[in-house]
Symmetry: C2
Subunit: 345 residues, 2 copies
């Protein structure tokens, strides 16, 4: 008797379950795509360029899953939703939503979600990796070695222990970086005018002004969003305020890392600071213009970079996949997903 | 009256204090040299080659301070001590004493000391730096960028969190690495047949056999001395045992780091393992033959290296300087320094 009831329940799910048409325009974790298909959804993978989007190439889809390459501007949203199409949800596989016009989405009744927690640890580890690689000249050393030079003396570096790390922004990623950096023996400083006051504790020093954190810290890592307010926040004037000498009295030089968003660091001025010696190293995962090949920073010996791979780990992709599945399930059940950035549905 | 007593005491120290003739053959922290001179010692800085050493070029000195370049072999020790010279102490600024024949020193009445704690944190940080740089392709990415390639997809990496780190040797440096790696969310495994049993605790899994740690761990870091027993301990057969798939189920590949001593890793076999894909990365700070320029590992894309800079930080140099000053003070007072490796004086 119990078995029979259960069987009926399964049939009802298969027949009456919501089947969404999902477009995946910038790629997705294979397991996640498979899992969505197993749940009965139609998943169509393939890029849509700006022209196609504005001609309504997503009009037959319920959901579009994008990364950063697909630009969901006003025209792209209007052409595929409301009276013009069935698009009801944009899922950003990742965190940054600079490529989505959220206001237009809201006006058109399109819910926008992202997967905020999935990439945190990936970015935290890359940030610590860039910090350690910078102060110990790992990239420079390897290049010298391949050039046939055993530059043991020149490659002498400094330690993170005993130094002050200034975090611009104190969100989820910055707090993860702070935890590891504290374990490495660094003193944590943070600037974040939007920080919730319940995050304030004795583990770090909160700065009320941007300049003040630069004056105090030999190591600065950027962890804020890009906006008019944060554009070129890291510039030559501020780098010139950095102390060069660590809290432990060691002349470790000044170091900058940005694994957040391009444009927060003024690249031209950072190059100038590297040339004049005001900066001992700069490491960027993100750039004002990407792909950043041809960027003149790439010619400087003390600069090092990764091609926007902050979130690019297999683990983060798997976690993004799981978060996307949860979002689609919530959508299916008519609930507003927990990570919705506008209050629709 | 009290003042007068103190003055007399200072004069007596200056006149009757021990003044040693100290040779510094491989360089020393400037502040330490200055400080030794201020204490009244004569400090002569300059390299002595093997021939000079065997001709007694240190015979007029009481103490020689060396790093790794000066080889204090049997002949060099005999020619400068006992009946042939006044050399009474060899101080190794650093840890490894492979370049000192301690038995000959003991027979000749020469005390050998090193500065074991000074470089611990420097090596710990470089090891973590190499681990993070390896799994996130930092060195490879930077090279690609400079070659004009934005290899975002190819440079996708894996995270350390959730993986098993196998430490070959569980001395001071390995324990420092373990602490940071644990903070990064790694599970710690160790192999060390010479480990004191009071170090055993629930924070790591102790392996009784070398093979067993390779079978379990996707990430291996070497932290033991070089000896006949440890020579080529990391080889193709053992690397082939590594699981490729992390404890969290992610296919992260296998990774090797050696910031301890050259020769523990079989370089030819590691290159083979990189070529066949059995290893996803290898990072070496130390080599069988140094300088290692021209080493064929340097041609492999997934190999990265630093020129034996594990202890090469300004902080470690300063700490080595302080430890040397303490050793000379102890020698001066006729005590056996705490870091003496043979029980003389």
């Amino acid at each position: 008797m119990a078995l029979q009831t259960r069987t009926i329940f399964i049939i009802s799910l298969t027949i009456e379950g919501f089947m969404a048409r999902i477009a995946v325009t910038d790629g997705i974790d294979e397991n996640a795509a498979e899992s969505l298909r197993e749940s009965g959804h139609e998943v169509v993978i393939g890029h849509h360029d700006a022209n196609s989007l504005e001609s309504g190439s997503l009009a037959d889809f319920d959901i579009v899953i994008i990364r950063s390459a697909t630009k969901m501007v006003k025209e792209a949203i209007i052409a595929n939703s409301g009276g013009n199409g069935s698009l009801k949800m944009i899922i950003r596989a990742g965190v940054g939503v600079d490529n989505i016009d959220i206001d237009s989405a809201t006006s058109c009744g399109v819910t926008v979600c992202n997967t905020p927690g999935a990439s945190t640890n990936a970015v935290v580890e890359l940030t610590i990796g860039h910090l350690l690689s910078s102060v110990r000249n790992i990239v420079r050393s390897d290049r010298k070695m391949r050039d046939g030079v055993w530059a043991k003396k020149e490659m002498r570096g400094s330690e993170l222990r005993g130094k002050r790390l200034g975090l611009i922004g104190y969100g989820r990623i910055a707090r993860g970086v702070a935890e590891i950096a504290r374990g490495l023996g660094m003193e944590i400083h943070a600037y974040d005018p939007y920080m919730s006051s319940d995050l304030i504790n004795g583990n770090f020093t909160l700065h009320e002004e941007v300049d003040s954190i630069f004056k105090k810290c030999t190591h600065i890592s950027v962890h804020c969003f890009f906006s008019d307010e944060t554009r070129h926040m890291v510039n030559l004037r501020r780098v010139s305020l950095m102390p060069r000498i660590g809290a432990d009295g060691i002349e470790c030089g000044n170091h900058i890392v940005n694994c957040a968003r391009g444009g927060i660091v003024n690249e031209g001025e950072i190059l100038e600071a590297l040339k004049s010696g005001k900066l001992s190293s700069a490491a960027l995962d993100v750039f004002e213009n990407e792909p950043a090949t041809g960027n003149s920073l790439l010619e400087h010996d003390r600069f090092s970079s990764t091609p926007h791979t902050g979130a690019a780990t297999w683990e983060a992709q798997a976690r993004i996949g799981s978060e996307i599945i949860s979002i689609v399930e919530e959508f299916e059940e008519g609930r507003i997903p927990a990570s919705a950035l506008n209050g629709l549905l």
